[in-house]
């Protein structure tokens, strides 16, 4: 549609990845991933309404090594998107725009997501395994 070749921005190929840009796109990636995670949530709930066999097969998938791997990934995605979402809300209130603050909160968000994921996995396996 555009009749004029206007310059587009930013040219990702020539930009060095930085904590700001990497965490920004990671927020979207985890958001889209979590949208697909709702398929698992739906399967789990619908299986519980359908019957014992369906629920058992859903549990069997979630308990398999592949299902566990997927759940670990989604656990990290939940914590990252949650923490970075709070960071976004603080930005919406006009707080934390200094480049040092953006760096600090960015590192804090990743650290929180990593630690919370590990704690959740330990708690989950302690609470009853797969």
């Amino acid at each position: 549609m555009p009749s004029v070749d206007r310059p587009l921005s930013p040219h990702l190929q020539v930009y060095r990845p930085q904590i700001t840009s990497v965490l920004s796109i990671l927020h979207r990636i985890t958001g889209v991933a979590l949208t697909f995670a709702t398929l698992l949530l739906t399967w789990w709930l619908v299986a519980a309404a359908y019957g014992p066999e369906q629920f058992a097969s859903a549990q069997a998938f979630l308990g398999s090594w592949f299902g566990q791997l997927v759940l670990w990934g989604f656990t990290f995605a939940v914590f990252y998107h949650l923490a970075n979402g709070v960071r976004h809300l603080l930005w919406d209130f006009g707080w934390g725009f200094e480049i040092t603050q953006v760096r600090t909160t960015g590192i804090a968000v990743v650290a929180f997501a990593a630690v919370a994921t590990v704690i959740t996995l330990i708690a989950a396996y302690a609470a009853g395994g797969a």
Partner: protein, 126 residues
């Protein structure tokens, strides 16, 4: 003073007049999802290893069923708003964009209704 060009005005360019509502809805659902998702993580941990009967018993209590329905409704609305922005940003081919927007909206709506229906059926002991 009118700063827009006559051509731009006639083509209806500019604000679609609905961005603010989208922005607020995304923030409201985001804030609501902070406690809801933390609650869900704790619930999921407590449900590790739960069998069919145990899971249904958990979902049959009023509080858990209510929290799950609120979580599901908020989550799918937030997911729909987020997917809309992502699709609008990255899918440039117009027909593909329209199909992706409508398709994601429809699929997420069906998933949300499926979840809520399942919760209600389990809570009613069906």
């Amino acid at each position: 003073m009118e700063l827009r060009s006559s051509l731009g005005r006639v083509r209806g360019l500019g604000s679609a007049k609905e961005g603010v509502g989208h922005w607020w809805a995304q923030r409201f659902t985001a804030i609501a999802l902070v406690p809801l998702s933390i609650w869900f993580v704790f619930a999921a941990i407590s449900l590790m290893g739960a069998d069919y009967a145990a899971f249904r018993a958990w979902l049959s209590t009023f509080g858990n069923a209510l929290a799950m329905i609120v979580l599901v409704g908020t989550l799918f609305y937030h997911a729909y708003l987020g997917m809309q922005v992502v699709i609008e940003d990255y899918v440039h081919h117009e027909p593909a964009r329209v199909i992706a927007l409508l398709g994601s909206r429809f699929v997420l709506f069906v998933l949300a209704v499926s979840c809520i229906l399942a919760i209600v059926l389990v809570a009613m002991g069906r």
